[in-house]
Symmetry: C2
Subunit: 460 residues, 2 copies
Amino acid sequence: MEKTIAEPTHDEDNRLNSDFVSAVVDAVADGDVEGARALVAPLHPADIADLFELAPGDRRKAIASALHGMIDGDVLAEMNDWVRDELMEALGPQEVADIATMLDTDDAVAIIEDMDAADQREVLRALAPDDRAAIEEALGYPEESAGRLMQRDLIAVPEHLSVGDVLDYLRRNEDLTTDFWEIYVVDPSHRPIGTCKLSWILRTPRSVAIADVMAREQTLIPVDMDQEEVALRFQKYALISAAVIDAAGRLVGMITVDDIVHIIQEEAGEDILRLSGAGEGDINEPIRYTVRTRLTWLLINLPTAMLAATVVGLFDERIAKYAVLAQLMGIVSGMGGNAGTQTLAVVVRALATNQLTSSNSVRMIMRELRIAAANGVALGLVVGAGCYLWSGVPGLAIVFALALFINNIVAGLAGVLVPITLDKMNVDPAVSSSVFVTTCTDSLGFLSFLGLAAMWGLGS
Amino acid sequence: MEKTIAEPTHDEDNRLNSDFVSAVVDAVADGDVEGARALVAPLHPADIADLFELAPGDRRKAIASALHGMIDGDVLAEMNDWVRDELMEALGPQEVADIATMLDTDDAVAIIEDMDAADQREVLRALAPDDRAAIEEALGYPEESAGRLMQRDLIAVPEHLSVGDVLDYLRRNEDLTTDFWEIYVVDPSHRPIGTCKLSWILRTPRSVAIADVMAREQTLIPVDMDQEEVALRFQKYALISAAVIDAAGRLVGMITVDDIVHIIQEEAGEDILRLSGAGEGDINEPIRYTVRTRLTWLLINLPTAMLAATVVGLFDERIAKYAVLAQLMGIVSGMGGNAGTQTLAVVVRALATNQLTSSNSVRMIMRELRIAAANGVALGLVVGAGCYLWSGVPGLAIVFALALFINNIVAGLAGVLVPITLDKMNVDPAVSSSVFVTTCTDSLGFLSFLGLAAMWGLGS
């Protein structure tokens, strides 16, 4: 039999396939612990993490017991937060502490920060004093700040060393970290004065001073900087790692790009979920939290819908006389809603990626206004002509076309002004913009269509 | 005078502030070329790129002429595609070719691939033969594939070398690349058999064989793999760089994480723009393209709106008798639309990040159904009670509450089934899902509310 190129355990998306997941779940259910362990043994830690996410929720604890000792820190660091929390309860504080000891500070913090206070205390108590001190210090920084992301194990050398001295230092000190991409050159007060890529060291003769190899231009990250801002710096300057400094400018840690990659992905994906009111949108979140988040959003949107209904109510006599208005009014509000969502999506992304700033916001508003006008004219003509052919009533067609045009302008203006204003007020535009924009497009859509119809005397 | 910590050129988002941008624009407009160059000289290439994006479109060519010689490959590589294309025309093929020569292949390809065919030929002709061959080979790979992303300059060594041999090789060969994070160990047919982080080499004595330092487990990227898939591998396995192989398994290039970071950001941000029909949503795109993209989407949504209007038309006699139905029907369709958008956002993100696979799709459908039922009951009770207090008509309140419940179920089911089905058919669910989901929530929302009202005999 020939081997196929695709691994038999993985599907075309490079995720464990459902046959493999079922095989492990079934082996555990049948009490075949050795069989389950044999299946899992060749997997990468990221795949073992996936296995737990893909297995049914009520089987995860049994799988964890069967795989005792195989779930190390790398597996937990890759695992979804909710799934991990569930497992931690199954493992108990001593085992969690053993795992945390083997990890970089940032990964240990990621695991411990989500636990409830009592469990956290128990795990911290089970840690060795120096690990405990490092993790407690990290937990002292604000959530989602550079201080939580950074690791403390890094290579820092004084500037008077030569390349040869650095090599000797790295080779002779057994307990230095083995995973690093750059080394930092510091002054006597431990303030970073330069950064040196390892490739530069490798390409340079031993006798050259490290100060002549390092780059003095470097991006320093303040320890209290928000992780989203950190991610944007990494992106803007194409960083692999960066030094983190305290308020006095002293080197306190290092952030590497592999931790940033997750943040960039999360932050970029968050916008779509926030705009739609889906909260974190984590598919492993317990269902009661999901219902609470989504229901809150739907209830917030209810007054918007009621306001629009009130606008319609102003014209109920006219609608009673001419029910075709009720038929068409939803097209006006709906098309306005679509146009508003388009503008909103573009503006929210541009704000999140720092592409839209005070230098170009006026230009952006004018741009959206021109787009809205062009779309409004085109849609108005298409829909107006269609309406005339369908109804044979020129007045209705004109009112319909005009209302569509007006609501496109409303949508364009609201879609750009609402998020820019919220951003200026330091409110996250992704969270709250769409309620305001929908309120505008629904209410003003109905008002312009039914109001123009009344002015034209349609249905009298 | 004391120095402030914030740079005077940057705002709180670490983008050039509008005063600085205006100062450069004004200096160029006043013919003060030296003044403009003095302002720009201290900037990082990423900031020079920003300067062009933030300056008004009609001033960019004049700024480019004033900054002649300061716009190097690093600046162009950081620049928005549309803004860059505009500049390239101002620069002319010889200058573009000079810039491309100084770049890594992947960055040169990124600049050249978007040019139109005639300009591309001219630039290629102006290149040195070996640069030209490398770039033409890269352009031969599909767009957005690993072959376009990879650079050809990398360090590959045979496995019989010692660490000392590797150090000597790196120090003695002047023309090797200076920027790399890992070296690849290859067999005699140039197939990668292991990867070695530079930090491991630095921590190991000269006499140790490189084969004893390298990791044999490595993630190899096929040259034709789609960039989104490449990005997911980098994320899943926390890679800094990865070897790219051809169909015969030979090492042909290397991809580094700094290029992947941009892709992750783009791909994650794309979903929000596609779901809303905003195309690429690039704020620097010429306005005629933007209008075309957005208008197409609005026209695609028109039949959906018309179908919903047709459903309303079925009940126009009843609406004429009881216009309050017209008032409330928009609440049913609107709340259904909101709930559908929530589910859609979650499912689209879960599909894009490979969190939702065939192993857990049934579970996901059941999950969304339970959420929809819970939200439907809660919303139905709130809105039904409110309607009874407002109208005093129990039948209307019951019909309204029931219709809201039904439409929540419709929204939940459509929101999860539509994207999963499209994904199975290899259609991007972010692009086309929302039309289908809106069609369901609008039409079935009206149908359930007006249909139940007719069955109950409201308005007769």
